[in-house]
Symmetry: C2
């Protein structure tokens, strides 16, 4: 009621106002190229030239147009700019429904950091939902065909990933968070990728465990076959020679706790447990506490807020550095130009060395 | 190298192919309205009419155009559609840099759910970064002026929030996650909002605590003055009459632990502690454990994965329901039309009743 009596004027906008009809409220409309032309005393075409091909406009005229643009607060409509430049200045990334558990926090931190880094380069991040690889490809197809995005970031790559095949066949600029598993990813990478060096992380964790806890360093990981999990196991094995037992659990606290409890009841001595995730580490931590074995050193992976809250050491993936690496690969270090074919020459991947956080 | 020898054809696209020059690779281009017109044997204008004003096109002609569109896999360019409809089908939301701690998970879950719900309505979610309210207003201004978004969702509202003032003055469609603090938000809401009924949550927690633990139910909250925190304290006070002590800590585990440890050393009997957040609850839980007082019932707020991992009861905010409520307010229950002025009539807010998860 109150608001109906009020005339809303936009500060800095001296352009056109139109009666919206109906309720008789007067609403400010953004200034148009016609308003700029009228105020500068030039044609629409001259305004357009001043914006798009300034070199062909006389300096005095160009200044008049620029003054009118500043005075009116005129901004070219993004859709018009997109049609002209065929650029949307937007990067797409899939966001899955929340699945519970603590492991999603790394990807969420990556999305936060990607938004931040993209903003610094005057790019936006567009989210889309998909429940399978096929559905994701359909979403990507829509976004690419409609020109809504310039590039894509895909996450969670796996052996034989159909998304990378599709993106390569369509020549869509993209970077993967996750390496091209099963392919030669360093010397002849099939596409741009960023990843965290999981083996380096568990090597550092195993080394620290031997230094401060003892020789018998166990590894608690997922069933074999996941590229990420196998990498993390490899680091532990390289550092320790597989000195302690290798324990396997799905990625949940209760399952991990049960596995570690029976291992502590067994005959293998255990001084420390290097874990493939913080979920596993929390299960291990609870098992050690309940068995009165709090001297067993437990090291997690992902450095989640939960590990921090419990005072557990963990390997920090540095998602902010991963996001910055993804944008550098897509856009170059300074420019805003996307180089879709860079995988064929020069730097085509960024492998971030994670950091052990000791608590 | 391998890829240079390959001709990339797009399945389902029988449209134009152009030589991209340079390397001699042949690249498929998306079909255009001209391709549709040529295949259907009609003019460009007729194709445009069939898409935008189908009523004025003869049914037989319309069918021919539709067949050609299907055969070519033609999709109108989003930017062209945006210029025509003045709709971008996009909702903007700010995403802050990750700040550590466990409380961010609720907002992250909200963003996940918003993306999912928006996708079901054929809308996208666009993220932008900002480090202050002023910077957020500047980002919103850019997105609104450039036509990149149809509506905004703002989060974390507070007393005297300048963002809502700006959005109202510019008549931008928006909904707030967080009520308009300090204003009459139920009967005469200043704008559309969704929120979680924090007082209902702590009432339920305090009731449960009395039922299963005892009369002396303490509250562990933040310093007064935050709308959200004061609401959560109110629910506890209404249910218990302030039976146990009221403890105050900033939202960190170590601080909360120290406060609760001295309370347990004091003379006030404590049977249970209802907490304003899971961070506080974890501190309280660690304090009780270290003081051999694990019989004290600790209840958190936010139902974070950390509370789940530790087996703590907590109040679940149901961010998925909050996100669905936000979109219903913005778009109506079925339509895709955004109703910016709805705050003046009919349903203008959604208050979600949270759920106590007992563990």
């Amino acid at each position: 009621m109150r608001r109906r009596d009020r005339t809303v004027l936009r500060i800095g906008c001296k352009g056109t106002y139109s009666d919206s009809g109906g309720k008789g409220t007067i609403v400010a409309k953004p200034p148009t190229v016609d308003d700029v032309a009228r105020l500068a005393g030039v044609s629409r075409q001259t305004v357009s030239n001043a914006l798009n091909t300034p070199d062909i406009v006389r300096p005095a005229t160009r200044e008049r147009v620029e003054r009118a643009i500043a005075e009116l607060g005129y901004r070219p409509h993004a859709a018009a700019r997109q049609l002209r430049t065929r650029r949307s200045s937007t990067i797409g990334i899939r966001l899955d429904p929340y699945a519970g558990g603590i492991s999603g926090v790394v990807l969420d931190r990556f999305v936060h950091a990607l938004t931040e880094s993209a903003g610094e380069r005057r790019m936006r991040v567009l989210l889309y939902a998909a429940r399978s690889a096929d559905e994701e490809i359909e979403r990507m197809r829509e976004l690419v065909d409609s020109g809504e995005i310039d590039a894509l970031v895909i996450t969670g790559t796996y052996h034989g990933d159909p998304r990378t095949r599709w993106l390569l066949s369509r020549e869509v600029p993209f970077v993967a968070f996750g390496r091209p598993w099963g392919l030669d990813d360093i010397d002849a990478p099939a596409h741009l990728w960023v990843d965290v060096d999981g083996a380096a992380g568990t090597r550092a964790a195993a080394r620290h465990a031997r230094d401060v806890a003892g020789e018998h360093v166990a590894f608690l990981g997922w069933p074999s076959g996941s590229g990420t999990g196998d990498e993390r196991e490899r680091g532990w094995r390289e550092e320790t020679g597989g000195a302690g037992p290798r324990l396997v659990s799905t990625d949940d606290v209760a399952g991990a706790r049960a596995i570690v409890e029976s291992a502590l009841d067994g005959s293998d001595p255990i001084d420390a447990i290097v874990c493939a995730s913080d979920s596993l580490a929390i299960g291990a931590h609870l098992a050690c506490t309940s068995h009165g074995r709090s001297e067993v050193l437990v090291i997690g992976f992902d450095n989640t807020p939960t590990a921090e809250a419990l005072g557990l050491s963990s390997i920090e993936q540095l998602p902010e550095r991963v996001a910055a690496g993804a944008l550098e690969l897509l856009m170059g270090e300074t420019g805003d130009v996307i180089a879709p074919r860079r995988a064929e020459s020069g730097v085509a991947h960024v492998l971030v060395e994670p950091r052990l956080i000791v608590r």
